[in-house]
């Protein structure tokens, strides 16, 4: 489906979160590292939403609380303390993190807040032991120029990262506390983005800018993107947790598709003359219909106490639930999300996909008859589960169906790996922030601003000049580096290995080489900055030849847990000495003496080819050619 985004009135705003690489966390003295294995303390907690003075509670908070989940926290001793465990008040705001945030604010042409106040933002899914995230607005009203267009930057916040989710079972969610409290900058753009591609470009630019402070964390999960997407007539949808930059355009495209489809569904409902009040709230027990069913899910549900099959009738909805709203997701999938989130059930069945899933056509017929519904007009939704859960699930489904008459409901959705999204929770209300009184406000002094100066990233044109003039890159290579997220890594490596490795080799490793091995099928998303750094180090130390770089990176992409040195050794790509090279050349000459004698003028080609087959990547090709030429000349002379 080709979409005309301008006509659809697409508006996208981004929220980019980047972890900062500070010595310690935002509100305590723990290091900002994630642990693999460590001694851990484990404890279980509950969270309870605080009431507002008006008796209101945030709808998102109520949802979490209704699930009555407990949270099990794993507190690694090397990376968490009483502060993360919510057993000690937070310390003062980390000045190092603040300085970096101020530097980013300057680079984004923002108005810096004169006195910073830390707030508590209520989040009660357990990912914060406190039940709120500590966050402060650092700067307002900036902009960034991308492709000649000004994109507004609304806010820059400094906030604590949440705990890492380890897993979930029936009654509790498990989190590890090492990530909790790592400083994050959150940069929110205005809804100035009008195409999916532009969303990708802006996200990339912001991520790169933060990395250019030299103080951003690298690696998987250190940058996270949230998107706010709407089209004309639709609704602002918040999409959480897009992990990869390259997914952003796709996620936007699919969300546009979804909103457009939902609007079409609305129009179709109106065309059919249906009204929200026609959607009956009645829930029926239809277990009897499925007594002898072949459906495993239903059979299992029926065998348990207080379980059954429950149904609602959607009059006039036939066909609507089967409408595809995103690739592989139908309107029925949207309803199923609500059933899962609000009722805690595994899913639902609807008649637009039946017979199927072990449910026979005969049973569907009986079902319509049992409920007095019209198989030609009406749709039926089924949930097979515990009675209470099924009721909650179906109530949520009814609520969602009524929303369909308005079109697109305001939702917070979770990004999935294929670019589609699923319903997560209602959009949080505005009543969810109050001051963090344990932390004193911070005056932004001239001294702080001067300190920040050292982290302010250079603008792209300054970088471009340096890459060409100082590092001797060609214009096209310089551009490629500048358009790569790893531009900061490039600068750092050039700095470190100056005089030992040519900047152009580093540049093409980061850009061309990775692109090339991806073309060969290597999973380069596994390549971490450390992989590249170690490889360049091997080159600088003369342990590998530059020809070995692609092979090593390919190996690392497939075996991301090993190091570059290990890869070089495993692949036999460590350099060989000149003596060894001579020995190999002599051996090759000996083995091919007949051929050489037959065609002396092809001698070089024959020997060179075979020698290179043995030493490729382990020694510079030019050296090999010189030695081979010498040896052959000597041989032919005698």
């Amino acid at each position: 489906m080709k979409l005309d985004y301008e006509e659809l009135g697409l508006k996208v705003g981004l929220e980019i979160h980047v972890q900062l690489d500070t010595r310690h966390k935002l509100f305590c003295n723990c290091p900002t590292t994630l642990v693999k294995e460590d001694e851990e303390d484990v404890f279980i907690r509950e969270l309870r939403p605080a009431r507002s003075e008006l008796g209101e509670v945030d709808p998102a908070a109520i949802l979490e609380w209704r699930k009555r989940k407990k949270y099990e926290y794993y507190a690694p001793r090397s990376a968490s303390c009483l502060v993360e465990a919510d057993e000690e008040p937070p310390h003062e705001l980390n000045r190092e993190a603040l300085t970096i945030a101020l530097a980013i604010a300057k680079a984004l042409n923002m108005d810096i807040v004169e006195e910073i106040h830390v707030m508590r933002k209520i989040v009660i899914d357990g990912s914060n032991t406190t039940g709120f995230q500590r966050t402060a607005i650092i700067a307002l009203n900036g902009y960034l120029t991308v492709g000649g267009k000004r994109i507004g930057i609304q806010t820059l916040c400094l906030e604590e990262d949440a705990a890492r989710k380890l897993g979930e079972d029936r009654d509790k969610i498990k989190y590890r506390l090492d990530r909790l409290g790592i400083p994050l900058v959150e940069i929110a753009t205005a809804p100035d983005i009008h195409t999916p591609e532009e969303a990708g470009k802006v996200a990339f630019r912001i991520g790169q800018l933060v990395r250019l402070t030299g103080r951003a964390k690298r690696g998987l999960g250190t940058i996270r993107q949230d998107l706010n997407v709407s089209i004309r007539g639709g609704a602002k949808t918040e999409i959480k947790g897009v992990q990869h930059l390259y997914l952003i355009p796709l996620v936007v495209e699919y969300e546009v598709m979804r909103q457009k489809k939902l609007l079409e569904i609305r129009d179709e409902l109106l065309r059919r003359g249906l009204k929200p009040e026609d959607v009956s709230g009645e829930i029926y027990d239809v277990s009897e219909v499925f007594k002898g069913t072949k459906s495993k899910i239903i059979r299992r549900a029926l065998s348990r106490r207080d379980h059954g099959v429950y149904a609602i009738v959607l009059k006039g909805f036939k066909g609507i639930l089967g409408v595809e709203v995103q690739p592989g997701r139908r309107f029925g999938s949207e309803l199923a999300d609500y059933a899962r989130v609000w009722g805690g059930v595994g899913g639902l069945f609807h008649t637009d996909e039946l017979p199927g899933y072990g449910i026979s056509g005969e049973e569907v017929g009986k079902l319509y008859e049992y409920l007095g519904a019209d198989p030609g007009r009406d749709a039926i939704v089924l949930v097979a589960d515990h009675r209470d859960k099924a009721y909650e699930a179906l109530k949520a489904v009814i609520g969602r169906v009524r929303e369909a008459f308005k079109g697109v409901p305001e939702e917070t959705r979770a990004s999935q790996i294929d670019g589609t999204t699923r319903y997560m929770r209602p959009r949080p209300g505005s009543a969810r922030m109050y001051p963090e009184t344990d932390i004193p406000p911070v005056e932004v002094t001239g001294e702080l601003l001067r300190e920040a100066e050292k982290y302010v990233p250079e603008p792209p044109d300054v970088l471009m000049n340096r890459f060409i003039e100082e590092y001797g890159l060609s214009r096209s290579l310089a551009e490629a580096v500048l358009n790569d997220i790893r531009v900061d890594l490039f600068e750092r490596l050039v700095e470190t290995y100056r005089g030992r490795v040519q900047p152009s080799i580093i540049a093409s490793t980061i850009t061309n080489t990775l692109k090339m091995i991806r073309g060969e099928g290597a999973p380069i998303e596994n390549i971490r900055d450390e992989h590249i750094e170690e490889t360049i180090k091997l080159l600088a130390e003369g342990l590998i030849a530059k020809e070995a770089i692609p092979e090593i990176l390919k190996y690392l992409a497939e075996n991301p847990d090993s190091g570059a040195r290990e890869a070089a050794e495993k692949l036999g790509l460590t350099t060989i000495s000149l003596e060894e090279l001579d020995r190999i050349i002599e051996e090759v000459i000996r083995e091919n003496m007949d051929a050489i004698k037959r065609k002396p003028n092809k001698a070089f080609k024959i020997v060179m080819g075979r020698v290179m087959g043995k030493v490729r990547g382990r020694i510079d090709g030019r050296t090999v050619a010189e030695r081979v030429k010498d040896k052959i000349n000597n041989l032919l002379k005698t």
Partner: protein, 447 residues
């Protein structure tokens, strides 16, 4: 002048504008415009020249006030009507009264101003912790409103009188909400002030304030109400978290309890004794794990003896201790001194003359140990023997705080006769002295 927590020029300007918290302001300086809702200023920072506003996105920022700003009031805060929640209670459940001494068991947040207000009505409590309605038939009221650190022996007289009244009215238990700092002192005081208790008195508090979702207040309150309603003992206890997680609470005998951590949920520990019970509020279970001294019985007539002498002091021994501290207390007319001695119960030999003088002037001097764990013994070393000879009353394994409360109570409610005071101080009245300290009663590091 001070205005909404602001001082100086900011306060003047704001008061001239007549704006209140929640009113909408636009502050303009050099073309920069800040618009948001006026927030009150925390007094500690009131001298700094910033105006705190809440932006539309919910964040607060401080805008510097230089005097050049144009400030426009663009809107006034609307009236908000708060409808009290309606809740039905089951009168067949045990009747428990919750007496509040200040602090916030339940808080309501005003998201517009950031203010946290206490809420203590029964409907508000039940709205926040619906489980309560399944455990007890609750009555609640505030009897005083003071910070924990401002509690005085005079307050104990008032608190005990209110508890006594509830007991006479036939409640099944009393819960006292109290700040944690001085809670152990108050719980000990009530243990002495009301004896022959028919029902339990349960002190409860929180280490994480109730305006946060992670508060320990709700869990502790559930455990305390359960204890008050169902526990087989009728003692003055503290019920708080038993560990950092929300799994079980412990009931510590007030006279044996001590706050041992500044901030953890499980700050309270029993010293030289086991807790009285483990409480699982979710399972509605109370496991008694220590010997009960006073059993619950509806037939018992409570005895109120609630005078406390507020001329008692605790004095801690330390290297270089100045004996004139004791002289000063005697000269100032103090009625009793509790020493927090070193080790088995020692103070410097240089202080013995001063102590002797105190005793001679009728001021009882009680010796406890700053080790907290273990019992005093004044016979082992010569200093101890000299202290005994000077008339010091050994405090056995009593906590210094408990000894202080007990001495204050004896002097206020019982006697100022030195021999009688000594006799009562060394007699175990409500479990404050544990005659048998087993090897297990000492915390150890796991290996």
């Amino acid at each position: 002048m001070e205005y909404l927590g602001y001082r100086g020029l900011v306060a003047e300007r704001l008061s001239r504008l007549g704006v209140g918290v929640g009113d909408r302001l636009r502050i303009i300086r050099d073309g920069r415009v800040f618009e948001g809702v006026l927030m009150p200023r925390e007094a500690l920072y009131g001298d700094k020249p910033y105006i705190v506003i809440k932006l539309d996105n919910g964040y607060n920022i401080g805008v510097r006030y230089t005097g050049r700003e144009e400030i426009v009031v663009v809107g006034r805060r609307g009236e908000k009507r708060v409808k009290p929640p309606e809740i039905a209670q089951n009168p067949k459940l045990p009747h428990v009264t919750l007496l509040s001494t200040g602090g916030t068991i339940v808080s309501k947040i005003d998201y517009e101003t950031g203010a946290v207000k206490p809420a203590l009505s029964v409907p508000e409590l039940i709205e926040w912790i619906p489980e309560i309605a399944d455990i007890v038939y609750l009555d609640a009221r505030e009897i005083i409103s003071v910070f924990s650190e401002d509690i005085t022996p005079k307050h104990w007289e008032l608190i005990s009188r209110e508890i006594y009244r509830e007991m006479k009215n036939g409640v099944n238990g009393v819960v006292v909400a109290h700040g944690t700092d001085m809670m152990a002192y108050s719980a000990a005081a009530i243990a002495f002030a009301i004896r022959n208790k028919p029902v339990p008195i349960v002190f409860v508090g929180s280490q994480r304030s109730s305006d946060r979702p992670s508060t320990d207040s709700a869990f502790n309150l559930k455990a305390a109400l359960l204890t008050a309603a169902q526990a087989p003992f009728a003692e003055s206890v503290i019920v708080m978290h038993g560990e950092t997680g929300d799994t079980y609470a412990l009931a510590h005998r007030g006279v044996k309890a001590r706050k041992m951590h500044t901030s953890r949920r499980d700050a309270f520990q029993s010293i030289n004794d086991k807790p009285l019970a483990i409480i699982y509020p979710d399972r509605r279970e109370i496991n008694v794990i220590n010997k009960i001294i006073e059993h619950r019985s509806k037939d018992k007539e409570p005895i109120l003896e609630n005078r406390f002498d507020d001329r008692v002091a605790i004095v801690k021994a330390y290297p270089g201790f100045q004996p004139e501290i004791i002289d000063l207390l005697v000269d100032k007319g103090f009625h009793g001194i509790v020493l927090e001695g070193s080790g088995l119960g020692h103070v410097t030999n240089r202080a013995i003359d001063s102590i002797k003088r105190a005793v001679e002037e009728g001021v009882p001097v009680v010796m406890t140990s700053q080790c907290l764990f273990g019992r005093t013994d004044l016979y082992v070393y010569s200093t101890g023997r000299r202290l005994l000879a000077a008339g010091v009353i050994p405090g056995s394994d009593m906590l210094p705080e408990t000894a202080y409360v007990k001495l204050s109570w004896i002097l206020g409610s019982k006697t100022r006769d030195l021999r009688e005071v000594a006799k009562l101080m060394t007699t175990n009245i409500v479990g404050e002295i544990n005659p048998r300290i087993t090897v297990s009663l000492y915390p150890r590091w796991p290996l």
